[in-house]
């Protein structure tokens, strides 16, 4: 009894008391002590749970702050980029108009014509780049949000991608059989998926690898700021992975880890712009040498809303 009492007083609540004693008072004392030990064990467990809870909320807070920082930076870059896009569009007007009219005055063959045709082609390429920048900064004029079944978009994009992907890459799917509708533009969603598939395949550098594509319904997601029911779409690759500094800048326009001429650095900015236009959220997890996972959380549309929308189509 004495040994156990000392153990308890020194903080060891694991040793049970042997209350098998003949003296009544001692027996009662031992029972009291045992009750006290039980209570202490309970308090200890509750404290441990509280500390753990606090640690989790700390991690969550840090994650939210990181997302907020990234969002603010992207907004600034977006405003800046679209201001530049406006200027470039103005500059392209005289380039295209004067070149085109000069071509009309030139003979059908010869070096000046060939050169001016290249100028015109270059100006049109610049026009396309500007269009991509404006997509990033939420200039999605053609986005027509409707209720769509993401499984159909994934199936179509996957079909197209499987034709383009080299046979060294294994494609796996983990798709839930029944999913709620989401609000998105099917064409833009397909464009976004193709961008992510291409990115994943390029991260594997043509080597052997596995690309996993998933779709599932998350009634109570626990990632970042997402708490409403969502349809989660993810693309995982077993590529080279990225460090945290790269992950943090991955959606910035013109940010690329590829060498010059291999990529514009606009693909993932466009992905980000499209995701935002759907009111969805995108996250990235990556580990060097292991691979990268992009997750998009689309707010799920409630059944009641779907019935209403079918009566009056959403445009």
């Amino acid at each position: 009894l004495q040994a156990v009492s000392r153990a308890i007083s020194s903080g060891d609540y694991t040793r049970a008391l042997n209350v098998n004693t003949g003296i009544r008072e001692l027996h009662e004392l031992a029972e009291d002590l045992e009750a006290m030990r039980h209570e202490l064990v309970g308090v200890n467990d509750r404290l441990e749970a509280k500390i753990k809870e606090k640690e989790i909320s700390e991690v969550r807070r840090e994650e939210l702050q990181k997302q907020l920082r990234q969002h603010q930076r992207l907004e600034t870059v977006g405003t800046l980029a679209s201001g530049i896009a406006h200027e470039i569009n103005n500059v392209l007007v005289p380039i295209i108009l004067y070149t085109d009219t000069a071509l009309q005055d030139l003979p059908t063959s010869g070096a000046p014509r060939a050169n001016l045709e290249r100028v015109l082609a270059a100006a049109r390429r610049a026009k396309d780049v500007v269009k991509k920048i404006l997509t990033f900064s939420r200039e999605l004029g053609e986005a027509k949000l409707a209720l769509i079944d993401l499984r159909e978009v994934v199936a179509e994009s996957l079909h197209l991608f499987s034709v383009l992907a080299p046979p060294t890459i294994e494609i796996r799917t983990e798709i839930d059989e029944s999913l709620p509708f989401v609000r998105a533009d099917a064409t833009l969603a397909a464009h976004l998926l193709m961008n992510l598939f291409t990115n994943a395949y390029q991260a594997m550098e043509g080597a052997k690898g596995t690309l996993t594509i998933g779709l599932r319904y998350q009634e109570h997601p626990t990632v970042g700021r997402i708490s409403q029911p969502h349809v989660e779409f993810w693309v995982s690759d077993t590529g080279r992975g990225m460090d945290s500094a790269t992950v943090e800048r991955i959606f910035e326009p013109f940010f690329t880890t590829r060498s010059v001429g291999q990529g514009s650095g606009l693909g993932l900015s466009v992905v980000h712009g499209i995701v935002e236009s759907f009111g969805a959220t995108i996250t990235v997890e990556s580990k060097i040498g292991v691979g990268t996972t992009f997750r998009i959380f689309f707010p799920a549309v409630a059944r009641l809303e779907v019935v209403g929308a079918l009566a009056a189509p959403v445009v």
Partner: protein
């Protein structure tokens, strides 16, 4: 001959548009601001105004509203290069090309065109708004 007024604060834009339309057989004048455009409209007969939307002082949308009111027979084409400018003196409520062009249409523009456009797009748009065969 039909008379066109091109309004843009960018000299290269208004000059190149004028050049193309001159060649197409129109009589073209230019103005560098909405204020100049309104004065020019009061001075000379005009069939069509091609106006930029994002301009200092009076923006294109306000200009279109004024033109529709004072010169209801004048046809209007709005042009914009887009860009998200946030809350600036230009058009705080409209922050995208689509929004700019939509507000231009709402204000009474007969057609909207996104910059940069091709020569044939410009000429076809002008023919369309003025009525094909009238050029």
């Amino acid at each position: 001959m039909q008379h066109i007024l091109v309004v843009d604060d960018e000299p290269d834009v208004r000059d190149s548009v004028k050049y193309v339309l001159d060649r197409a057989g129109y009589s073209v004048r230019t103005a560098e601001s909405a204020t100049d455009a309104l004065a020019e409209l009061a001075r000379n007969p005009t069939d069509l105004v091609i106006t930029d939307i994002i301009m200092p002082q009076i923006n294109g949308v306000e200009a279109i509203e004024s033109i529709r009111k004072a010169f209801p027979s004048v046809r209007i084409i709005a042009i914009s290069g887009g860009g998200n400018f946030g809350a600036t003196e230009y058009q705080p409520s409209a922050i995208t090309t689509t929004a700019y062009l939509a507000s231009a249409e709402k204000a009474g523009a007969h057609l909207v065109l996104t910059k940069p456009f091709e020569t044939f797009e410009l000429i076809r748009s002008v023919e369309h708004v003025l009525g094909v065969g009238h050029a």
